[in-house]
């Protein structure tokens, strides 16, 4: 009886010491992660030690069943609560980082050389260039609906496109299909084709001429 009582007292003192030390550590240490680090042993180690002391003190196990069960509940739920709280702290830190990053780029956006956001910010201008290249064709294809929407993007491009649009409007009568990317060039190409056709016909004539002496 006395030996068991002494063992129970040793376990009790150890558990109380662990809990008090963890409380003082939480009080002293700054930061949520460090506080969590010091708060975890109170439930999983101190509570279990105190429950072991209670179980050793009780003569029969069934009389200390509720004590042991309560301590087990503490030991099981302690890490769960610690993990959930640590996740909340991480979410808060990430949100603060995002806010800080959102505050910073407003000032040095023209620099555009942030290594942290290299992926998205480098991907976006190339996409824009591709889209712009497509827009130059698309404006001609879709006509004047897009012109107003894109007038605030790049003024020089819009001026060029307006010029081309005026050309288009003049030439829209002839070209109803979507192949009129550059009408003057296409006209030149048509004329070239015509010339080449003439040349081909000349060739054909020459061939004819060449072929005429053959049979003749």
């Amino acid at each position: 009886m006395t030996v068991r009582h002494i063992i129970a007292l040793v376990l009790l003192v150890a558990g109380v010491t662990v809990i008090v030390l963890s409380c003082l550590g939480v009080l002293v240490v700054p930061g949520a992660y460090q506080k969590l680090h010091f708060a975890a042993p109170a439930s999983s180690l101190g509570g279990v030690l105190v429950g072991a002391g209670l179980a050793v003190e009780a003569a029969v196990f069934t009389s200390a069943f509720k004590d042991v069960f309560t301590v087990l509940v503490l030991a099981v739920t302690g890490p769960v609560v610690t993990t959930a709280t640590a996740r909340a702290v991480r979410a808060r830190d990430q949100r603060q980082d995002v806010q800080r990053r959102d505050d910073r780029p407003g000032e040095d956006r023209p620099g555009e050389d942030r290594p942290g956001e290299a992926g998205p910010t480098e991907g976006r201008p190339t996409e824009g260039r591709h889209i712009e290249g497509r827009h130059i064709e698309g404006r001609h294809i879709e006509g004047r609906h897009i012109e107003g929407r894109h007038s605030d993007d790049r003024h020089s491009d819009d001026r060029h496109s307006d010029d081309r649009h005026s050309d288009d409007r003049h030439s829209d009568d002839r070209h109803s299909d979507d192949r009129h990317s550059d009408d003057r060039h296409s006209d030149d190409r048509h004329s070239d084709d015509r010339h080449s056709d003439d040349r081909h016909s000349d060739d054909r004539h020459s061939d004819d001429r060449h072929s005429e002496p053959g049979p003749g």
Binding site: V26, L27, L74, A84
Partner: protein
């Protein structure tokens, strides 16, 4: 006053007081850590009081506090994870 009641007193004074101080300082999640630790300490104090008074039916109080403190801490943690 036996050893269990002394242990409960020591825990209630030297264990709950720092938790109380932590709970009224710094940010929301640091306070939540203090609240969780206070729940654990209060549960152990109730266990020791039940043993010291020799009333085994008081242990129910500690059991209920352990379960409800777990649920409350989890709800607080989820809440703060989304909106803080």
């Amino acid at each position: 006053m036996n050893a269990w009641l002394w242990a409960a007193t020591v825990l209630a004074v030297a264990g709950l007081a720092p938790c109380l101080v932590v709970t009224v300082r710094s940010g929301a999640l640091e306070r939540l850590v203090g609240l969780e630790l206070a729940g654990v300490v209060a549960t152990v104090v109730l266990l020791l009081l039940a043993q010291g008074f020799g009333r085994s039916s008081y242990v129910d109080l500690a059991l209920v506090l352990a379960l409800l403190s777990f649920a409350g801490s989890l709800v607080f943690a989820r809440f703060l994870q989304r909106w803080v």
